[in-house]
Symmetry: C2
């Protein structure tokens, strides 16, 4: 029922709090944890526009490629840090970094990897586009096919004392 | 982290599926389970109007009182049936039936009883008013203060096989 967990993270405080619940689920039979970070492709485009204006001498395709490469490497490094945090729980782990529409990539990963549960924070660090179009967690809940444990951020009233 | 669970139920298939997760959390340290049913006060009013038209000879206050009494008794009986289902897990249990706005009563119970987690279905049997104004689960997630495990209904694609 909790055997294989998908833990999507945007590296926010809320996602960090959710990782504590992943650890705790070890006792309820969790064996595998997939750590997933999705860069919002719409934010990549914004970033690319910025780079193109800072370095107008660079060919556009090169600057887009560079932006993506840097993002993916950075995402992978940060996931490795989180993986270290759960090392002594002896989960089987998998790290995935993707670029796309976050809620869609999360639902796809949950379906394709046959996860039993998604554990995620309630409020992410909203990117520019997400601020306009609504929360990833809400969309995963509305459109996804597996149970979701939604964790409130640490500094939320009431959540720290229980 | 999962010590005291609030399990709000509208007796829907989705809520029933959520009870399976409550059982499973025993292994992650759950000791207490509060079973809560909230009658939507707006539905009570609709029901009352119906009764008043069927029995125009009854004083209005009496028919409202009768409707409420019957609902509360029925709700309590159904909670007792669910309590039986989890008997052999030796949880400490508490049964609560309330009348009000469901998401508000759920959040109040979670706060007042200092629960660690709410476990609930994603899609309830929507009452008339809820159909118009949105889902209880969505509102608990948006306005509540504790983590929520949202369980998809049993017959949902993918959810039955994992």
């Amino acid at each position: 029922m909790f055997r294989k967990i998908l833990y999507p993270t945007d590296f926010s405080a809320s996602a960090e709090e959710a990782l504590e619940y992943v650890k705790k689920l070890k006792e309820a039979g969790t064996e595998e944890v997939i750590l997933l970070h999705v860069y919002d492709e719409r934010d990549v485009d914004v970033q690319w526009e910025v780079e193109a204006q800072i370095h107008p001498e660079e060919p556009l395709e090169k600057s887009r490629h560079d932006v993506l490469k840097r993002m993916l490497e950075n995402g992978f490094d940060r996931l490795k840090e989180l993986e270290k945090e759960i090392t002594h729980f002896s989960f089987k782990t998998e790290l995935i970094v993707e670029v796309g529409i976050p809620y869609q990539k999360i639902i796809q990963a949950a379906d394709n990897l046959h996860v039993s549960l998604i554990v995620m924070g309630s409020h992410g660090e909203h990117g520019f586009v997400e601020k306009l179009f609504g929360s990833t967690t809400g969309r995963v809940l509305a459109h996804g096919n597996v149970p979701v444990l939604v964790v409130k951020p640490k500094n939320h009233p009431n959540s720290s004392t229980h």
